[in-house]
Every structure is written in structure tokens, then in C-alpha cells.
């Protein structure tokens, strides 16, 4: 109720955190126990109306009224199509923008650049030799001349050869030159996280390694609408940005059971994505489900695992019911998508924890040295006296 009233007075109000609150309601699972049908998510905006009301959306058209929503079109897109749409807009509007990386030209191993070489030409959408340090270095040089350099690292697992360029050069470029040189035009896109069959080297979540690289931004979207808006913001942000796309969310159809938990099915991440040029803000977390008893903070693929978990907690199937005390089942958990990992939205998280008094952070990357530890330390410092339990982390096994 409160959320709906506040939202109707936007954008006049400058409420820092945006929430999808009133459009979500947790649906109980089927009576038989686990979903035999295709998993669904209430967090995905599958109608034009809900899509156009994505919190924080900022239209980037030159002519029309910035907040005009009425006649805008949306199109059904999955995550890789949303990436491609964003890239297409970036290249169309910015003559200096180029896209490069391994296997980009034919469309990319995840189809994120399909058709772009044909549309914009091979001088603007091209393959590089197989060298991540070369890709990153080349992108830095290009961006240092004021151009928009959109590099792709084929899998986040292979970002490590580029680590020197990213941490020693990209992150420090502006600082070390006293502000005279900068590489704001650099964006490094890379598929990240588990896909189910990827093994050790097609599944990693390396965002934690970059937390110490002050000067870099790290962004991780959860859905097509989020991806397009955040990617366009990242490309246009005057700082170098690493944009990590959860690869299991790229494709349209099917559900992918992630072993061993068969209950956790990834829903088809398809939304009605606005076809216009729009931005979503960096360094702003989003409250997806409002709550009052515990704050659950996550990003990327685990957003959907968390949503499923909350469903199960709320209405456990008969097989699990004995294990979940009835008192817990009415817990109102606040689910937050962090979206930008560095610099992260400490204000939204702390405000939430001050209300709920409990924080659990969920990330796919392993516990030790993961982003969760950093967040836990900062939140612990600021909300210590309010917390009723230590900050906990649920992470991938190391």
C-alpha cells in the first residue's frame, strides 16, 4: 500500500531505493510437493505494463519527455537478446563505439553479438586473437583516446590473464595521471556463474577478486530488462566497468536443474523488454520483495534460488514440513538484488538491516574472500547494535 502510493508520486520523490514490491506476490507451490511444471518467477516482468514500470528506469531519448511511458513498445527478449539490443543501441548512438573479443564477429558463443557485424561493419564489430591480456590492453588503449571500447572476455573463468591490465592499469588509470588520462569508455563484458555442465572452468564467479581494484566498477544483472538498462549505463559510465552476465540466464526456453538441488529450477528468463534506449542506475540495489524479519541479499542467478527458497519456507511441501518449524513459515524476508557489486549500495542494505535486524548474504562464489565477507564487515560495523544475529553467508562450496 505504502509502496504503491510512493511509486505514484515518482519521480518527484527522491527515494533512493526502488522496489518492485507491489508487483510481486509469492505464489505457493503445487500441493504435490515440488513443481512438476515449468518453474516461474514473480520477479520477471512478462507484461508490457509491468515492464514499462520497472523501478528506476530512465529513458534516454533526446526528443520525447523523459518520463513518458504511454506509447512505448516492448518486445519479448531473453538475456542474450537483451545484451544484443543494448549493444546495438550503443553502436547506433555512439560512432566511436566498437565491440571486440574472441568469436564476436559471427555472433559470439552465446549469440550476444549476432547480426552486429553485419549491421555495423567489421571495423566496428571484430574478432581479436586469443589473448585476454591483449583484449583488455587494447580496450584500455582505445578508451584512453576517448573512444567507447566494449570488450568481451569469453568466460569469466578466463579473465585472469587480463587481471594485470584490469587491476594495475584500468583501475588506476585516472588516479595515477592526476585525472589527465582516463578510460571511462571501457566496458568489459563476460559470461559468469554456473550453467550446470560447465565444470571448473566455465562456471566461476570471480567478482570477489576485483573488490580491491578501486577505480573499477562491477555490475551483475539478474534479468533481461535489468541487463539492457544496466549494460547501457555501464557503457556510458565514465569509469571502466566489468559487466558480468550470468550465463545460465542467457537462453529463452527450458529450465535448468542445477544439481544437486532439483527444486531449484531456473525459470525461463524472458521478459517484455522496452525496445527504447533506457538506463538503470549503477550502485543502486533493488528491493525485490519487501520484508521485516530478515534481509536476504544476493545478485545474479541466486536471485531465483532465493525466491524459490522463500516460497518453500513460506509453504513447505509435506516432505519438508516436519523440518521447518511453523513459526518460521510466516517469516517476512526482504529480498534485495545488489546489482552493482563495486561500488555497492551500502545505504539500501544498511537501511534494510536496521529494520529487519538480520542479514543473510547469498553468492555463488566461494565463501573465503567472497564479496559477502566485505559486506558483512561494513554492515556489522554500522548496524551492530540493531542486529539480533551475526551476519551469515550462504555461498558456493569451496
Amino acid at each position: 500500500m505504502l509502496a504503491r502510493r510512493l511509486r505514484s508520486t515518482l519521480p518527484a520523490l527522491s527515494r533512493r531505493w526502488q522496489t518492485t514490491a507491489s508487483t510481486t506476490a509469492i505464489e505457493p507451490p503445487s500441493a504435490s510437493g515440488h513443481s512438476s511444471s515449468v518453474a516461474s518467477s514473480q520477479l520477471l516482468r512478462i507484461t508490457r505494463e509491468s515492464a514499462l514500470r520497472t523501478p528506476g528506469i530512465s529513458w534516454q531519448d533526446e526528443e520525447s519527455d523523459r518520463n513518458f511511458v504511454g506509447g512505448r513498445e516492448t518486445r519479448k527478449m531473453n538475456l542474450y537478446q537483451a545484451v544484443r539490443d543494448a549493444l546495438s543501441i550503443a553502436l547506433a548512438k555512439d560512432d566511436s563505439a566498437v565491440i571486440f573479443g574472441e568469436d564476436i564477429a559471427f555472433g559470439g558463443v552465446f549469440r550476444c553479438t549476432m547480426g552486429l557485424a553485419e549491421e555495423f561493419g567489421r571495423e566496428r564489430v571484430f574478432n581479436t586473437p586469443l589473448t585476454e591480456q591483449g583484449i583488455a590492453g587494447f580496450g584500455i588503449g582505445l578508451a584512453s583516446m576517448g573512444h567507447t571500447a566494449i570488450a568481451e572476455i569469453q568466460f569469466a573463468d578466463y579473465i585472469f590473464p587480463a587481471f594485470d591490465q584490469l587491476v594495475n592499469e584500468a583501475a588506476k588509470f585516472r588516479y595515477r595521471s592526476g585525472g589527465h588520462f582516463s578510460i571511462g569508455g571501457l566496458t568489459v563484458r563476460t559470461p559468469t556463474m554456473a550453467v550446470g555442465h560447465g565444470g571448473l572452468y566455465h562456471s566461476q564467479s570471480p567478482e570477489g577478486f576485483f573488490m580491491g581494484a578501486s577505480g573499477l566498477k562491477v555490475v551483475i544483472p539478474r534479468s533481461p530488462i535489468q541487463c539492457k538498462g544496466l549494460l547501457l549505463s555501464a557503457i556510458r559510465d565514465p569509469n571502466p566497468v566489468i559487466f558480468m552476465e550470468p550465463k545460465v540466464l542467457y537462453r529463452s526456453a527450458g529450465t535448468f536443474p542445477i544439481p544437486p538441488c532439483v527444486h531449484t529450477l531456473i525459470p525461463p528468463t524472458v521478459e517484455q523488454v522496452p525496445i527504447d534506449d533506457y538506463a538503470l542506475p549503477l550502485s543502486r540495489a533493488e528491493i525485490l520483495i519487501p520484508g521485516s524479519d530478515l534481509t536476504l541479499l544476493t545478485w545474479g542467478t541466486p536471485v531465483y534460488h532465493c525466491e524459490s527458497a522463500l516460497r518453500l519456507l513460506n509453504s513447505p511441501p509435506p516432505s519438508l514440513a516436519p523440518l521447518i518449524p511453523p513459526s518460521l513459515r510466516s517469516a517476512k524476508v526482504e529480498l534485495i538484488d545488489l546489482r552493482t557489486i563495486l561500488p555497492w549500495d551500502i545505504e539500501t542494505v544498511v537501511e534494510s538491516v536496521r529494520r529487519t535486524k538480520r542479514l543473510v548474504i547469498v553468492h555463488e562464489a566461494g565463501m573465503t574472500g567472497g564479496v559477502g565477507g566485505e559486506i558483512a564487515a561494513e554492515v556489522g560495523k554500522r548496524a551492530f547494535l540493531r542486529l539480533e544475529a551475526p551476519v551469515r553467508r550462504i555461498t558456493g562450496w569451496e
Binding site: 589473448t131 588503449g141 582505445l142 583516446m145 590473464p161 591490465q165 592499469e169 595515477r176 595521471s177 592526476g178
Partner: protein, 422 residues
């Protein structure tokens, strides 16, 4: 079943060659063919006289003076700054002052003279000569070395890590070879820019040691395949700190690698400033015309120690250094050439050295009195905007300064050296 395909289609998928089929199994190990080694292009001999068949460039007396004066200036700067460091006058944090040139003056001045003033230069740290050639002031040099508030990089970097947008000289960073693939990107930007395409190139300097890094390989690959107009200038000075060439690579230097990338390559006598100038000029022309990487290896010798933290006699014979300095001195060779042209004499020499020393010492003394940047400047430029963590850390330091800055002597002394008292 005999293949009906013509032999040439069986030769693989190489971009620029069609490998003929041969019946004799023969290994090769020379890029110049027949086991020969890559030759060394030269104009002047050790005594400054043109060698037989030399292509002496047409330069005016004035231009020759400019070449010579800049080489001597580099040498003078090295000498005085190293002495100042030994006397403790260069601040503590700049303890390691990289030997500016000592012995390699011709490589950098010769190259700088062959480039256009607005060609984008990315360097390693021994190329201050390019800045001097382009008019960077001694005050600017000293500001960076002393890290005072006049330094364009706000005193943030170790000594000799210059950067100047105005002079198209990209800020230096300590990690070796990282600038090499970046140069390929800079070159690509020039190619994409209608105003600068066919006018400017990106030029990247690096030592033979840095060329062992993966970034060298990456940079050559990018600039040769994309392609982009990037000129690769390798200074082969014999040592990477204490590591001699024999422990750095086994092939015929850096130039042997060029053809491996399909890149036009030349090796030149780096202590012959006219040869360097000729070679780089032609390399630049090829680079602009082809829009692709070109490689120049400049052979020289690092007479000086690696830095003020190094004593090279720990790993090489003093006699070797003195012999090289006497027998193959870039400054001496060019001076003898100028004298043979009637452009130089002993009194010109005395006058020049006196003037250069005076100017350098004057700039040094002045820089010593200029205050360091205020501490607020330590926190700017991390991002374009200021995120909360940077802001909080800045505020925390300011609070600490407020609390202790007036009462704790060591801090008081330190703050006194800063602009606005910190």
C-alpha cells in the same frame, strides 16, 4: 586414391603465405634465411664518420644542435638527479630513481626526432627524451620527481613516471610491457578518427626484458591482425636489471620475432642517432601506409645502473662498462660527426654543458622549495565520481589529522611540507 585437389589447397590456412610442399625434411632457425643473423643498420662509425654507402640524412646545423643538446640534457639530468638522490635531496619515497638514459641517449632522441610531435607515445620509463624533445619543461620534470603540487599527476607516482596529455605522452606505469597492447588500441583509435587517420601513429617503447612479457606477444598480435598503425620500438640495452640478454632470450634478439607476426622489422645501431632517425622515419612511413604494426629494434648498451637502488658492478665487470662507454658512446659519436661538419667545437661544448648543468640545478633547487600536494588530493580521481567508501576514508583521515595534526610532532613536520598545511 589420389587426391584430385590442386597441391596449393593442401597447404593450410595461413593468412599471408602459401607454403610450398617439399620432400626434404629440413628444420630452419633463421628469419633471414640460410642461417644468417639479422644485420644492424648504421650510418656513422664509432668515430662519427659516415660508413661506406651510408645514407646520411639531410639535416641543418640547427637541427643537429637540437639533437645534440637534447642528448646532453638527458645525460646531465641523469647525472644531477642521481647525485641528488645520493645526497638525500630527492624525497624518501622516490628512493628508486630510474636511470634516465645513460648510454641510450641516441635511441630516444633519434626516435623522438623522427616522429610527429602529435604521434601518441606510450613508454616504459627510459624515454624521458621524447618529452624533452617535445618541449616538456625542466620544471615539469622536477615536479614529478619531487612529487610536489605542481606535478600534473599530483605527486602520486614514483619518480620518472611522467605523463603529459599536451605532449601526447601517455602516463607511465611501473608494470612492464602493459603499455604494449594498449598502444595497439591507441593506434586503432587513430585509425578510426577521420581527423587523425593517415596522419598519426601510436608509438610504443619497451626494453628487451619487457619484451619477454606476454603483453608484448599480445600487443604484436593485436596490432598485426586488427590491424592498427602501431610502431613498436624495442630498446635492447643488454640488461634487465641484472639479467643479461643471454638469460633473457635465446633467439636473435627482438627483431627475430617480428616476422613471426608478419610484421616489417629492422634492427638498427641504437647508439647512432642518425641511423635511429632514419630507421624510425621509414618505419613510421611504413606504419602509416600499411596501417599495421612495424617493429624497430635499437641495439644499445645500458652504461648506467638500472636505478639508484642498483649497483651494476655486482653483476658485470666495471671494465666492460668503461670500455663500452669509451668505444661506443652515442654522444661522442655524434659530436665527432658535428665537428667534422664544422658545426661544433670545444668552446661550444663547454658552454653547452655549463648552461645545461646550470638550468637543471636551478630547476632542482626550485622544485625543492615547492610544497607537496595537500592530502585532500590523495583521494580524488579514483573514480570520475566519489563513491561512499572513498568519501568515508577521506573524512576519516581528515578527522585524524584534526585530532593529532597540531600536537604530534612527526605529523606536524609532515604537514608543514604540504600545500595549505595539508
Amino acid at each position: 586414391m589420389l587426391s584430385t585437389l590442386p597441391a596449393s589447397t593442401l597447404s593450410g590456412c595461413l593468412p599471408t603465405t602459401r607454403s610450398p610442399a617439399v620432400s626434404k625434411l629440413a628444420f630452419f632457425n633463421s628469419v633471414t634465411g640460410g642461417g644468417s643473423k639479422i644485420p644492424n643498420y648504421r650510418v656513422l662509425d664509432a668515430l662519427g664518420a659516415p660508413i661506406e654507402g651510408a645514407e646520411v640524412p639531410e639535416i641543418s646545423e640547427q637541427f643537429a644542435w637540437r639533437l645534440y643538446e637534447n642528448m646532453q640534457l638527458l645525460s646531465t639530468l641523469d647525472d644531477i638527479l642521481c647525485s641528488a638522490q645520493r645526497q638525500g635531496r630527492i624525497p624518501f619515497y622516490s628512493l628508486t630513481l630510474i636511470s634516465l638514459k645513460y648510454g641510450e641517449e641516441a635511441t630516444v632522441i633519434g626516435s623522438a626526432a623522427a616522429l610527429a610531435d602529435d604521434d601518441e607515445v606510450l613508454s616504459q620509463y627510459r624515454e624521458t627524451g621524447v618529452l624533452l624533445w617535445r618541449g616538456f619543461t625542466l620544471d615539469g620534470i622536477m615536479a614529478q620527481v619531487f612529487g610536489n603540487h605542481e606535478d600534473s599527476s599530483k605527486g602520486r607516482q614514483i619518480a620518472v613516471h611522467y605523463g603529459s596529455k599536451q605532449h601526447h605522452f601517455h602516463a607511465v606505469s611501473s608494470p612492464l610491457a602493459t603499455q604494449i597492447p594498449q598502444a595497439a588500441g591507441v593506434g586503432f583509435a587513430l585509425k578510426r578518427d577521420p581527423e587523425r587517420r593517415s596522419k598519426n601513429i601510436a608509438c610504443v617503447f619497451f626494453g628487451e626484458g619487457a619484451a619477454s612479457e606476454g603483453d608484448f606477444h599480445a600487443g604484436m598480435l593485436l596490432a598485426s591482425t586488427v590491424p592498427s598503425p602501431t610502431l613498436f620500438l624495442a630498446r635492447n640495452n643488454g640488461f634487465a636489471i641484472s639479467t643479461p640478454n643471454s638469460q633473457q632470450f635465446y633467439g636473435d634478439g627482438i627483431s627475430a620475432r617480428g616476422p613471426g607476426y608478419g610484421v616489417d622489422t629492422v634492427r638498427v645501431d641504437g647508439n647512432d642517432v642518425l641511423a635511429v632517425m632514419n630507421a624510425v622515419k621509414e618505419a613510421r612511413r611504413l606504419c602509416l601506409e600499411g596501417g599495421r604494426a612495424v617493429l624497430v629494434e635499437m641495439m644499445t648498451y645500458r652504461v648506467g645502473h638500472h636505478s639508484t637502488s642498483d649497483d651494476s658492478y655486482a653483476y658485470r665487470e666495471r671494465q666492460e662498462v668503461e670500455d663500452r662507454n669509451r668505444n661506443d658512446n652515442p654522444i661522442t659519436r655524434f659530436r665527432l660527426f658535428m665537428e667534422s661538419q664544422g658545426w661544433w667545437n670545444e668552446s661550444d661544448e663547454q658552454e653547452l654543458l655549463f648552461r645545461l648543468r646550470r638550468d637543471v640545478i636551478k630547476a632542482l633547487k626550485r622544485a625543492e622549495t615547492v610544497k607537496k600536494p595537500g592530502l585532500e588530493d590523495m583521494f580524488t580521481d579514483v573514480y570520475a565520481d566519489e563513491p561512499w567508501n572513498i568519501r568515508e576514508q577521506r573524512e576519516e583521515l581528515m578527522a585524524l589529522l584534526k585530532k593529532y595534526g597540531q600536537v604530534w610532532k612527526p605529523w606536524q613536520n609532515e604537514l608543514g611540507t604540504l600545500k595549505n598545511g595539508g
